[in-house]
Symmetry: C2
C-alpha cells in the first residue's frame, strides 16, 4: 500500500502542446501488458536529461547520452518495460540502436533524434523484433491526452501510476508542465528502477534547459532514497516543445525562476511519489537538515540518516530512537561535527537539544509522533547557513519480502 498516494485523475493531467503519446502491448516479457511507450515531440522541441551515476550504464542510457551529445533537437522517446537492456554489452547497444533506427525510418527523422529508455530485468537481451514489429501500430495510437496511459505502461513493481501537472504564467502566456515517473525503491537494479519524463511547452534555449534540468533534478529526484543505491538505468528527462508564446528564456531571469518553480512542483510530486510507493514503505519521512556548511554537507547528513537500516527499522517500529539517529549523524562523511550545537525536531516537538535528549521530551510523546504515516525529522546542525532535505521511507518486513521473493 503506497503512503498517501492515489491514482492520478485523467482530467487533472494536462496535455502539452507539441507532445503526443502512445502505448502498446508488444509482448516483451508478459502477455496482455502495455510495455512499449512512444512520446512524440513536434519539430522545434528540445530535450535535456540527467542519468544514473552507476558506472554500469545500461545500453539505452549510453545510446541516449550519445544521441544527446549531437544536439538537443529530439523528436521521439521510446520506452520499454520488461527488459532493462543492462549488462548486455555491445549486443545491447546494437539492439537499442536498432530500435531507434527503425523508428527513425518510419518517422522520417534521423536516428539520433530518438532517445531509447528501458526498464525491467537486468542482463536479458532486448527482444528487438517484437519492438520493431510494434512500431507501426504504436505510432497510430498516439494522442496528446495519453499521459496517464503512458504512466501506466512504464510501471514495473510500482503499485500506482505516477503523473502530475501544473501550469504557470510567464510574461502573460500560459505555460504547462506535465510529468510521469516510475520507480518503487530508488534502487532495485533488477528492475532497473527510476525513469521520469517531464514535458512543457515553455520556450527556452538549449543551454538553459540543460541547466534547469540539472537544478530541478538536484532538488527533487536527487533528494530521494529508499535503500541508498542507484540503478543502472535511472534517467530523468525534461522536454520543452517551446510552443508557448512568451519570449524565449535565455538566461536565469524571472521567467527562468517561474518555470523552475512549475517544473519543481511536478518533479517534487513525482519523486516523492516514488518514495510513497517505495518497496514495503509504511511511512513517508522528510529529513530536513538546517544550518549545514553547504548543500552537499546537508545532503550527506540527511542521506546518512535516511540510509541507516537501524533508523529505518526504528521508523517502521514507531520507535523514537534518538540514539540511532545521533549515531547515523556521527557516521556522515563530513568534517568534524560539534554535537553540542545540534538540535533535532520530531515533527513539531523538540527531540534533542544541544546534542542531548530534550528535557521536555517523553517517550510517549515521541511514540505518538512516530506512529504517523507522514513524519518530518529536522536536524539543526549549527555549523553553517545552508538547508536541504531528503525524502525516504521506512524499512519493513515487506521490503525484505518483496526483494527476497522477486524475480523467479
Amino acid at each position: 500500500m503506497p503512503v498517501n498516494l492515489s491514482q492520478p485523475i485523467k482530467k487533472n493531467i494536462f496535455s502539452i502542446p507539441g507532445i503526443s503519446l502512445g502505448t502498446i502491448e508488444s509482448g516483451i516479457k508478459y502477455a496482455n501488458r502495455k510495455d512499449l511507450t512512444l512520446i512524440l515531440l513536434d519539430e522545434g522541441s528540445i530535450v535535456a536529461g540527467v542519468f544514473t551515476k552507476n558506472q554500469f550504464l545500461a545500453a539505452p542510457v549510453k545510446v541516449a547520452k550519445y544521441h544527446l551529445s549531437s544536439g538537443s533537437n529530439k523528436r521521439a522517446l521510446l520506452i520499454n518495460t520488461g527488459s532493462a537492456n543492462a549488462g548486455t554489452g555491445d549486443v545491447g547497444i546494437d539492439n537499442a540502436k536498432q530500435t531507434c533506427h527503425a523508428l527513425a525510418q518510419i518517422l522520417n527523422i534521423s536516428e539520433n533524434q530518438v532517445l531509447p529508455f528501458s526498464t525491467g530485468v537486468i542482463m536479458t537481451d532486448l527482444p528487438v523484433g517484437k519492438i520493431i514489429d510494434s512500431l507501426d501500430p504504436l505510432i497510430k495510437n498516439v494522442g496528446p491526452a495519453n499521459w496517464v496511459d503512458a504512466a501506466i505502461a512504464i510501471m514495473t513493481t510500482d503499485t500506482v501510476p505516477k503523473a502530475s501537472s501544473t501550469s504557470t504564467i510567464i510574461e502573460g502566456n500560459e505555460v504547462k508542465v506535465t510529468g510521469i515517473s516510475k520507480g518503487s525503491g530508488m534502487i532495485n537494479p533488477n528492475m532497473a528502477t527510476m525513469l521520469a519524463f517531464i514535458g512543457t511547452d515553455a520556450n527556452i534555449n538549449e543551454a538553459m534547459l540543460k541547466e534547469i534540468t540539472r537544478e530541478v533534478c538536484d532538488e527533487s529526484f536527487n533528494k530521494i532514497t529508499v535503500d541508498g543505491d542507484t540503478s543502472t538505468n535511472d534517467s530523468f528527462v525534461i522536454t520543452a516543445t517551446r510552443q508557448s508564446n512568451h519570449p524565449q528564456i535565455t538566461k536565469k531571469n524571472a521567467s527562468y525562476a517561474r518555470l523552475k518553480e512549475a517544473l519543481l512542483e511536478v518533479a517534487g510530486f513525482l519523486s516523492k511519489a516514488i518514495v510513497r510507493d517505495g518497496e514495503g514503505a509504511t511511512k513517508f519521512i522528510e529529513i530536513i537538515i538546517e544550518q549545514g556548511i553547504d548543500e552537499q554537507d546537508c545532503q550527506k547528513v540527511g542521506k546518512s540518516i535516511a540510509n541507516s537500516p537501524l533508523v529505518k527499522t526504528a521508523f517502521f517500529a514507531s520507535d523514537p530512537n534518538l540514539g540511532r539517529i545521533m549515531a547515523a549523524i556521527g557516521n556522515a562523511p563530513i568534517g568534524s561535527i560539534d554535537v553540542s550545537l545540534i538540535d533535532i525536531y520530531l515533527n513539531d516537538i523538540l527531540f534533542a537539544q544541544q546534542g542531548f535528549a530534550a528535557p521536555a521530551f517523553t517517550e510517549i510523546m515521541g511514540k505518538e509522533e512516530m506512529k504517523k504515516d507522514e513524519i518530518c525529522l529536522k536536524v539543526v546542525m549549527g555549523r553553517g547557513q545552508f538547508n536541504s532535505s531528503v525524502w525516504t521511507s521506512d524499512l519493513s518486513y515487506d521490503y525484505v519480502k518483496i526483494n527476497a521473493e522477486y524475480r523467479t
Copy 2:
C-alpha cells in the same frame, strides 16, 4: 541462530601469563546478570587500541583514548554492559573517569592506567555508584582462567559468547594469544556494539604493538559489516604482558610476522564470529575482491556489495542475482570500472565472465550454491594487483524484527 558458531570450550581457551579476569553482577540494567568485567594486567604490560570512526565518540572511548595518550603502560580494563555511556556529554566523561579513579585507588595505580569500556543503550547515564560499589568484590573474583566468563559478561544482543585462543613459537619460546569479542550487528548503536580484547604474553615494544594492532584490526574487524554502520563505542584492544622469554620485538622482522599471524588467527575468528552471530543472519558470506588497484579499492567494491540491501536480501532468498551484484559493483565509489574485465565466482563456479553471465552458468546451479550457509563470492576486477576480502551476513526478516522490536 548463529551461522556455524558454537559455544567456546573452556579448556581450549588458554590463560595468558600476566592477565587475570573477573566478572560480577552490579545491577546496571538487569538483575541476575553479570554486567561488569575487570581485566587486570601485570606491571610491564602494554596496551594498544583502535577505536570507532563514528564522530560521536562515547565517553569511555574518549577517556580510553586520553589515557592511552599518556603512554601504553596500563594495568586494568574495566568493561560494563547495560549502558553505553554514549551521548551523555560532560557528565558521561566525569562518570567514566570516576570509575577509573575509584579502581585506581583500590589497586594503588594511577587513574590513567585504567581503560574504561561501555556497551549497552545509548543516551542513558552510567550508574557510577553501582559500579564503584562492586569493585571490591570484583577484584576478589579475578583469576587467569576466566576468559570465557568475561566473554559471557560482555555480551548484549549476542546469542553466543565469542572467545578464541592460539599459540605460536617465537625464537624458541611459546607465545599465547587469547581474545574475546562481543557484537551482533556491526552497527547497533543502541546497543553500542562491538568490543574486542586480545591478550598475549608476547614481548613487544610500544611502537610495534601500536603498529601490529592497527594492521591486525585492518585485516579482521575492519573487514566485517553487517549493516554498514559504525557504532559510537566500537573498540579493539590488544594487550601484551611481555612475559614470554623471546627477545623483544622492536621491528617488523620474522618474529613480528609470526606474532601477527597468531593475532590474526584469533582476531579473524572473533570478527567472523560477530558476523556469524549477526542480527537475523542465516548465512555467512565472504566477498573476495581480487586484482584491485590497492587494498582500499578492493574494500570499497567489497563493502558496496556487502552493504547493498538488495544483494543481502538476494542472499537470504538464495537467489543467484547477478544483476544486483553487478549494480552494486557499479555503485562502488572508485574510479572508472571496465566491466568487460570482471569475472565473478560463486563458490567454485564461474558466475560472470568478462562482465556477462558465464555461458555454462545455470540458474539451478546458482540456486544450489546460494542455498549453502557458507558462501564465497569472488570478484576478479582485472584492474590491479591487490586482493582483499569482506565478511558479511544476509538481510532477513529477523533483522527487521530484531531491530524493530528491540529497546522498549
